[in-house]
């Protein structure tokens, strides 16, 4: 006996062994179908006897093992069921012969046998035979179970008779000596009459009867017989049989204590319970007092002992097993028995949950040497050891032996290695090494389990799957190894693993699909989240020019405040929320969007990542994969992944896709807790048009000074002060949507400089009229850049003015304006330069033009885009006025404006003004220029409306007023300059240099005096003609335009003659007479009213006369002095002519 039955358990001792075998040619599947049906009859309760018979079926049994049948009767084949196919009557005799020859194999021990014939019909089938049953086909055999039951009953009858036979013949003459095969030769020539021998015979027989009783369902009898056998055999030192008797005792006790069985669910004993009678019997057994508690040890042993005092207690069972095994151990040939006993004991201990002791039994079993084992037997042995270790909860040991078994499958000595079996066994070891093939289990927290051992196992899995011819599997396992064990791999190993991975993937690329093994195990995909390692994910906003903006107004509807507080210092956020947080900016449909990842390569060599793209959900997204190559052990490395959203909606970036070493993986961010992200969801708004801007001026490289705003582009230009430059802006629609609206706005950046007039001006109407703009079309816009700055404010300039005797600028030293100018000069950044070259400081003006445009679906949603153009202008001073003063002109309504013009350029320059001749100025030359101007009536300027006046500060209002006046003066003067050498021209502004005094001079007085002589208005230059002897009516009209009532005044008209040599003759009493008074009185004149005084003169001689109207203020009582300029009365020049000689006189 060399092949142990590892599946044996203690309760097998009470079974009878029946072999079921095919005879002739029986299809395997059909045979096993019948076998299964036969095997379902595993327990038969015998009529009239309250006893159960248990049957163990085998379809394969070594006759060699049968020879041990006397030693332990459950090893004895007592029944034979043959299954055969018989097509015709002709074959029948032959089939029968075969059946008989098969019977002979087990002939010595068989109690009964049956032949099941399938397929035979006709005469032979009709005959009634007890040992043969005929069925027409494998599918039509309804009473197989019944036949088997009958068969079992017949076996029972034989068994029962044998038992009775053996049990009662103790008084018989001679008891035969039962012996095991290897003993036979030992007893040759032994004295059969000795007492010792007889006792041995008795003991062995007693043990044999015990076995039979146990099989026949008489547990109590069996126990008694076993006890007696133990006594007998102990006294004669028959160790082998003593062991057997002890084991029998244990088995009987185990059967008593654990009616549920010790084999676990593996052996299908339970199905028989469904077979009617069996169920009742079993139920009866269950109700036995103190049968089974949770730990398998009966709760109340004292009651137990009362009923079955011969039964061993749970502790004793193990003791006896130990003893039995130690006896078996004495015999080399009983190795199988010993091994099986160990296995049985372990099963009992497993039920008792005594793992430590069980492990000792198993440890012992490992060392039992069964001589030369075939490879298959070795595998079987290791597997069963593994299974038993598993049973007692030693998962690691179990895994260890399973792995040994797996290795045995592919041992080099085996000609055809069973890689498939090896792989299957290896898979089974995974839980023992706390490995699961799902990478998710490794993604969180620290690594679990024994890395060195796990790695080894994974390597073996890879190798086995490769040898199995399933490269897909090996790729999956290798990926798993790389992903989960990366921290434990040495640099050398990393290289090796990746190299072999690349080798495998060249044949079978790895993917993200779940691999399903034939036995149903699913291998989840492995995503290389560590190759490369991602540290952070950041969604990037679109470039400034492409960023969409929400129309104001509409935005507020979207505002939702969760908190009742406007501001709270406590930022409530959790990690998970952060990830789902919506990002504030928007992406635009059809526009390339970017996501920045910070990655690093943990490998000691260059890592090539291909097809790296984004995984998104929410909207249709076209990811544009990138390939990158990361240097060995790189630091953090920014990688930008791009894609184009094709529809509008909320897009969520779920992860990224990579292809490394030929393995594609989809890495989801939710599985990567270490990745920092500031939100992964962003709104994609419908598509908007896209404009490209080009200008006629060169682009400027240097950014605008206050670079808070990001500009899409900027231009720069150098201009002389007062010059105007045309800037042509071409806007091309390079998007795919129609441009529907366009708005332009500008903002001047540095407001420190005082700027006169509008810096940028344009006319949008023409451009707007071309809308909507189809894709590809373009529109142009002309912008006038006009620079008029005040360059006069230099400190040194004022110095100059003060040195000069004729200081007419009238700036008192301590005037506030002057102080302002001073401080400005100090704060000038170009201060050092200004000290170098007088008056030659370049000033800079910057402005941003913003083009708001919208169209398409995005416009419907209320979005627009901004395009901004920075305009940078360097302004060089051209001409400026160092001094301004006025001289009264001959007319009261006019005056002369004297301007000292300074040419600060390096070119020759001509200055011209309205109705004035050109003035040529050389570089850095200063000349005076006189312009005759009409006085200005500033009252005609539009008054700021009351509403605005009320809310703005008066200082500002004043400034505004001054500005308006100055620009009026400026436009009237129209001073322009021209540099012929460089063909530049521009305007010169006096705005900055005008001061209060000058302005007063230039202003029309609020009291307007009109002198009318002879019905003709008269001013300084006009000579009124009159005739001698005629009365000349003189009318003086006062119009009050001031805000207050004026007067009363007294006016005296004094005539005089100017001899043009400095002598003025006032003594004209006899040349001129007044008709009426020469003094006029003007009563109080209310605002906007006028008063007229009439008088008349009579010239007695011809000549040139002048009238000096002297003014005398009578309103002294009111205590206020009106400014003298208000009384600019013209002097009247009258030419008295000879009265024409009338023809008649």
């Amino acid at each position: 006996m060399s092949v142990p039955d590892y599946m044996q358990c203690a309760e097998d001792h009470q079974t009878v062994l029946v072999v079921v075998q095919p005879v002739g040619i029986v299809p395997e599947d059909q045979f096993f179908r019948i076998y299964k049906r036969i095997a379902s009859v595993a327990q038969v309760s015998i009529r009239d006897s309250q006893r159960n018979l248990y049957i163990r079926y085998r379809h394969h049994y070594l006759p060699e093992n049968n020879e041990w049948g006397d030693f332990q009767t459950h090893r004895k084949v007592v029944g034979l069921i043959s299954v055969t196919t018989c097509g015709s009557a002709k074959e029948w005799p032959q089939t029968l012969d075969r059946f008989h020859s098969q019977k002979e194999v087990f002939g010595a021990t068989l109690y009964d046998s049956r032949l099941l014939v399938f397929g035979l019909q006709g005469e032979i089938a009709e005959q009634q035979r007890t040992d043969v049953a005929f069925y027409s086909s494998y599918d039509d055999c309804p009473n197989v179970e019944k036949r088997v039951e009958d068969f079992v009953e017949s076996i029972f009858i034989v068994l029962e008779s044998k038992r009775l036979d053996r049990a009662t013949d103790k008084s018989g003459d001679k008891i035969p000596l039962l012996c095991v095969p290897f003993e036979k030769k030992d007893f040759v020539g032994l004295d059969t009459d000795s007492r010792h021998y007889k006792k041995r015979c008795q003991g062995r027989m007693r043990k044999h009867v015990g076995d039979l009783c146990l099989q026949a369902g008489m547990l109590q009898d069996a126990l008694v017989h076993y006890h007696m056998a133990v006594e007998l055999l102990r006294s004669v030192n028959d160790f082998l049989w003593l062991g057997a008797a002890l084991e029998g005792l244990c088995s009987a006790s185990v059967i008593f204590h654990y009616p549920g069985g010790t084999a676990g669910k593996a052996v299908g004993r339970k199905p028989s319970l469904a077979q009617g009678q069996g169920q009742a019997a079993d139920a009866g057994k269950r109700h036995r007092p103190g049968a089974l508690t949770a730990n398998g040890i009966s709760a109340d042993t004292s009651s137990e002992i009362g009923r079955a005092k011969n039964c061993l207690g749970p502790e004793d069972i193990i003791e006896k097993y130990k003893e039995a095994i130690s006896y078996y151990g004495k015999y080399k040939n009983a190795g199988v028995i010993e091994l099986e006993a160990c296995v049985k004991a372990v099963r009992v201990l497993a039920i008792q949950k005594r793992a430590m002791e069980a492990s000792e039994f198993l440890q012992n079993a490992v060392y039992i040497n069964l001589g030369q084992l075939s490879e298959e037997e070795k595998i079987q042995r290791y597997s069963i050891l593994s299974e038993l270790y598993h049973l007692i909860g030693f998962h690691r040991k179990s895994a260890f032996f399973k792995r040994v078994a797996a290795m045995q499958c592919v041992a080099p000595t085996i000609p055809e290695p069973g890689w498939r079996a090896c792989y299957k066994l290896l898979l089974e070891t995974l839980p023992g090494y706390s490995l699961s093939l799902d990478p998710k289990d490794f993604s969180k927290g620290t690594h679990r389990g024994w890395a060195a051992v796990q790695m080894r196992l994974l390597h073996e899995l890879v190798y086995a799957s490769r040898r199995m011819g399933n490269p897909g599997l090996s790729v999956r396992h290798l990926s798993f190894l790389l992903q989960t064990m990366l921290d434990f791999l040495s640099d050398q190993e990393k290289k090796e693993v990746t190299q072999s991975l690349e080798n495998y993937t060249s044949k079978c690329p790895g993917g993200m699909e779940v691999l399903t093994l034939p036995d149903g195990l699913k291998l989840p995909p492995v995503a290389f989240t560590k190759l490369p390692i991602i540290r952070s994910v950041k969604l990037l906003d679109l470039p400034v020019s492409l960023r969409p903006h929400k129309q104001k107004g509409l935005l507020e509807n979207n505002m939702s405040t969760k908190s009742p507080f406007i501001y709270s210092p406590i930022i409530m956020h959790t990690r998970g929320e952060e990830r789902n947080k919506k990002i504030e900016f928007q992406w635009v449909q059809g526009e390339v969007c970017e996501v920045q990842l910070m990655v690093y390569n943990p490998m000691p060599f260059e890592l090539r990542v291909e097809h790296m793209g984004l995984l998104t959900s929410g909207v249709e997204f076209e990811a544009l994969p990138a390939a990158l190559s990361l240097p060995a052990e790189s630091g953090l490395y920014p990688v930008t992944l791009v894609g184009v959203p094709r529809t509008a909606g909320n897009i969520t970036v779920n992860g990224y896709h990579t292809s490394v070493f030929g393995v594609t993986s989809d890495c989801l961010l939710e599985g990567l807790p270490s990745v920092l992200t500031s939100g992964c969801m962003v709104e994609v708004i419908p598509s908007l048009p896209r404009l490209q801007l080009s200008t006629s001026l060169p682009r400027s490289a240097h950014p605008l000074q206050p670079s808070k705003e990001e500009l899409s582009s900027s231009v720069s230009v150098q201009l002389f002060n007062g010059e105007t430059q045309h800037l042509t802006i071409t806007l091309e629609n390079i998007g795919s949507e129609d441009l529907e609206t366009l708005e332009v706005a500008s903002k001047t950046c540095n407001t420190k400089e005082k700027l006169f007039g509008e810096f940028l001006s344009w006319d949008l109407d023409e451009a707007v009229s071309q809308l909507p703009l189809k894709p590809g079309q373009s529109v142009t816009l002309t912008v006038n850049i006009k620079v008029r700055l005040d360059f006069s404010g230099g400190e040194n300039l004022l110095q100059d003015l003060n040195d000069d005797g004729i200081s007419v600028t009238g700036l008192p030293i301590s005037s506030p304006l002057r102080q302002v100018l001073k401080s400005r000069a100090e704060s000038k950044p170009l201060g050092s330069e200004s000290s170098k070259t007088d008056y030659n400081h370049v000033k800079t003006l910057e402005a941003v033009m913003t083009f708001k445009y919208s169209g398409g679906a995005g416009k419907v949603e209320g979005y627009y885009r901004d395009l901004s153009l920075g305009v940078h202008v360097d302004i060089e001073p051209s001409v400026f006025f160092t001094r301004v003063s006025t001289l009264p002109a001959t007319r009261t309504r006019q005056c002369h404006l004297l301007l000292d013009v300074f040419n600060s350029t390096e070119h020759e320059l001509t200055v011209s003004a309205n109705n004035n001749q050109d003035l040529v100025l050389h570089a850095s030359e200063c000349q005076r220029m006189a312009i005759q101007v009409d006085k200005f009536d500033f009252d005609t300027l539009p008054q700021p409306d009351q509403e605005a006046v009320r809310y703005t500060n008066p200082k500002l209002l004043e400034e505004e007023r001054l500005h308006a006046q100055a620009s009026m003066i400026n436009s009237t003067l129209g001073i322009t300059w021209n540099i012929p050498s460089v063909r530049r021209q521009g305007e010169a502004s006096v705005e900055g240099v005008l001061n209060q005094l000058v302005l007063e001079h230039l202003q029309l007085a609020p009291l307007q005096w009109d002198v009318v002589v002879n019905g003709k208005p008269c001013d300084c230059d006009i000579i009124a003609d009159c005739r001698v002897g005629d009365a000349v009516p003189l009318e003086v009209k006062l119009t009050n335009r001031s805000k207050n009532a004026v007067g009363p005044f007294a006016l005296t008209v004094v005539p005089f003659q100017d001899y043009q040599n400095g002598v003025q003759n006032y003594d004209l009493q006899d040349a001129v007479t007044f008709i009426g008074s020469n003094t006029f009185y003007i009563d109080t004149v209310k605002p906007t009213e006028n008063s007229v005084c009439m008088g008349a003169l009579l010239f007695l001689y011809t000549g040139d006369f002048y009238l000096n109207i002297k003014f005398q203020d009578d309103s002294a009582g009111q205590g206020k002095e009106l400014p003298p300029s208000w009384f600019g009365l013209p002097s009247v020049h009258i030419k008295a002519l000879e009265a024409p000689i009338e023809a008649g006189a």
């Binding site: 430590m356 270790y389 706390s434 389990g449 024994w450 890395a451 060195a452």
Partner: protein, 146 residues
């Protein structure tokens, strides 16, 4: 005297393992790994009763073909944590002269040295032990034998 010394974390992964025949290290990995079954069984069998005792020595686990495996189980600072760090010493079974007492003293040394490692403020509990002092102590224990 010892052929392999291992320190195993509460979560049953090695904090430290060293063996004398370096060429067959994996074998010791397997040996020590499988002993954990027995250690766990012993701990669960002894249960709470052991917490009171200062005796942390579990005794001989079992002899394998070549080596005797002695484990020691340490319950450190029961009041605060249950950091169940385990020590395993594998001893050459041919060396029969070794007494239980000597093994005990080895564990004591090992334990003291481990405590020193834990006291290092730069050591993160759960990391593999890379202390030179610990290493040299282990080497000393191994050399002593051969």
């Amino acid at each position: 005297m010892a052929v392999c010394i291992a320190v195993i974390a509460k979560e049953n992964y090695p904090l430290y393992i060293r063996s004398v025949p370096v060429q067959n290290e994996l074998k010791f990995h397997y040996t020590v790994h499988t002993t954990l079954d027995v250690v766990e069984e012993k701990i669960s069998a002894v249960g709470k009763a052991m917490a009171d005792q200062r005796e942390l020595y579990l005794g001989l686990l079992y002899p394998t073909e070549d080596y005797k495996v002695y484990p020691s189980h340490m319950i450190k600072n029961m009041a605060v944590t249950n950091s169940k760090v385990k020590f395993v010493i594998v001893v050459d079974s041919s060396n029969t002269s070794l007494r239980d007492n000597e093994i005990r003293s080895m564990f004591r040394k090992l334990h003291n040295s481990f405590t020193d490692v834990m006291c290092n403020p730069f050591y993160n509990p759960g990391d593999t032990i890379q202390s030179k002092a610990f290493d040299s102590m282990v080497s000393a224990m191994m050399v002593q034998a051969s």
